[in-house]
Symmetry: C2
Subunit: 379 residues, 2 copies
């Protein structure tokens, strides 16, 4: 079977390597950057192809003779790329995490008669998958909370943060108002709000704060309380707040010296080099999903906790592992004919099907991405 | 007697009002800003005069028929203005706190046959005055430490700081390497270094850190240990350090958006409005000078502690009170013929003379600026 991976970034590369290593796929990786493709040059079973994915004809050329597509392009070009893929009527697993509503493309995918698994990473991704499974198992779900963060293993002052993905997206996450659900109604809070300390075994105390990460769950799930928070080492978010309060994240140009400059442009320019994970620098992913509700007549809480680390053997970042291996499990789900539904498919839809859920969790487990589960009865 | 005050800023205005209120002086205030002069319009006994003090002929015009001069211009034009005053052979008390070495003008002042009291504020100023007095009283001075800060009475997040004087000078103080004396030798440390918490009755815990504030004492005093530290509410300096570490205080232009901008220019632009004391906003001045050494055969420590607050009756800021009233005491010292030495005179020279010291301290005390004194015998 032939799979084409669109995007040869950190995560796209890990996806291509994982797909090729199983032996069941012929893998092609497409990117506009020769440098990104070159990093996969020594990978057996992976063919590199240079193409400009913003051009429909180039996407068509890249998808010719392919059976399955992985979308791993930067978020800002995600929706347009997915549309082009669906125009070619190919099944696709997407992890570009574009900001727009994926259901815009639902009828297009249905007409094409193919599934488009979207947001199929770690969070969004596994968090939704777990939600879908719990929704199927519980009588009623009353509360869903997802805490998640990608962090450097060794925090260094002053930011104690490195991004395995684009730092521009991080600053965007720090400014976009955060939506969550309380009392069955949507609540919109400022970004970075409601910070609290949470302890994680093996990592210590982290700080959780509101980010706008519920995504498809805001429309697909009816639950009285749903919240997603991002995790950072304590103090990081206070420093960001100081920047925000002082205007350093502003997007209106201000006069400085004899030029007009958007403060956010300068802030991005200064912080990005400081936030870049160095080659081989170890990261970790920490996540805790907890679901409360009625189950067999009792109120219970089920908790799924993950602590994943950089893999020194393959020099694969934890962010690439957790996001990429969820994605490759999705690819194998489709390749194996286990999931049949067409249209836009967020992970919560996949999680509802026990066999699909078990398959993804098992695939992750085989690669060392393991959720510790716990069930508590609440009085 | 006729006194002219050059500069009608916050401190210059307080000086003019104090001099006029005693009845013994005819006071003229000179400034280039009509708005600054207007604030003194309703002040009995004060004549406002508009002039550009960067022009020698204008200074000459302003000083004609004057007996005594006060220099209260911004630091960056301080030295040039003082030179013009000395060219007119007038005795002067200066609080412009210019960065250059005032002794550059020593021979000019001597040739003019007039005293030029420089740095005659609170710190530098009273701190040096006290040092001079202690140097005269002690057998040997071994250690001199001055902790000083001007703060808003009510700290507000995130900066917990307001400047009664130019915020540009504050950022300059935060970047210039700090010199102090240890083991009899000059030590140069980064600005903001060696932060420590210090408790002050009535204010609470403050944070002290190195700033380059010893000024004339570096050349006039021979003491094994001399240090000046600035006081802020705890946390302020950490936030400044985060800015510095991330490049926000950089002076090399960087590309941001499509313009090149000096990060410090943008940072100044964003912080200055946040750091401005609002009209009537209450500030305080806190200072602790401690001197250790041999005195009558015993090792002792003498401590002089000040906590001064905004005066709601006259709406005079504490910074203007402490700096301005030290300056007006200096003016009255010269007017009363109590100090005879010509040339550049830093306050430590004045403090050596008991009568002069007592006079300045008494003048300050009469205005509520009171040092609490304590003597301890060490071991």
């Amino acid at each position: 079977m032939r799979v084409v991976v669109l995007g040869a970034g950190l995560v796209g590369g890990a996806i291509a390597r994982d797909l090729a290593s199983g032996g069941e796929f012929e893998v092609t990786v497409v990117d506009t950057s020769q440098a990104a493709l070159a990093r996969l040059a020594d990978q057996p079973g992976v063919v590199a192809m240079r193409a400009d994915l913003t051009v429909a004809a180039e996407v068509r050329r890249a998808l010719e003779h392919q059976d399955l597509v992985v979308g791993a392009v930067p978020g800002h070009m995600g929706l347009a790329t997915l549309r082009k893929v669906l125009d070619c009527r190919k099944p696709v697993v997407d992890i570009s995490f574009f900001p727009e509503d994926p259901f815009e493309l639902d009828s297009l995918a249905r007409e094409a008669g193919v599934p488009a698994l979207v947001d199929f990473g770690i969070a969004p991704g596994c968090s939704n998958l777990i939600f879908g499974r719990m929704q199927a198992e519980f009588d009623t779900v009353e509360r869903f909370v997802c805490l998640v963060g990608g962090l450097p293993s060794v925090p260094t002052w002053p930011w104690e943060y490195k991004a395995a993905f684009s730092p521009a997206d991080v600053l965007e996450e720090y400014t976009r108002p955060a939506r969550y659900v309380a009392g069955g109604r949507m609540v919109t809070m400022p970004a970075l709000s409601e910070a609290e300390f949470v302890d994680f075994p093996g990592v210590g105390t982290l700080e959780a704060f509101n980010t706008d990460g519920l995504r498809t769950l805001l429309s697909t799930a009816k639950v009285p309380f749903m919240q997603e928070k991002t995790l950072r080492y304590p103090g990081h978010i206070e420093r960001i707040r100081v920047l925000r309060e002082s205007g350093f994240l502003g997007t209106e140009p201000v006069e400085a010296g004899n030029v007009k400059v958007r403060p956010l442009d300068l802030t991005s320019r200064l912080l990005f080099p400081l936030w870049q994970l160095a080659e081989g620098e170890e990261d970790l992913t920490v996540m805790r999903v907890s679901i409360e509700g009625m189950h067999g007549g009792r109120r219970i809480r089920r908790t799924f906790q993950l602590l994943d680390r950089f893999d020194p053997a393959t020099r694969t970042s934890s962010m690439a592992r957790t996001t990429g291996y969820t994605c490759t499990a999705g690819v194998r789900l489709l390749a194996g004919g286990m999931f049949h539904r067409t249209g836009i498919v967020p992970p919560e839809f996949v999680g509802r099907e026990q066999a699909c859920y078990d398959f993804v969790i098992a695939e992750l487990g085989r690669r060392g991405v393991v959720f510790a589960e716990r069930t508590e009865v609440l009085e």
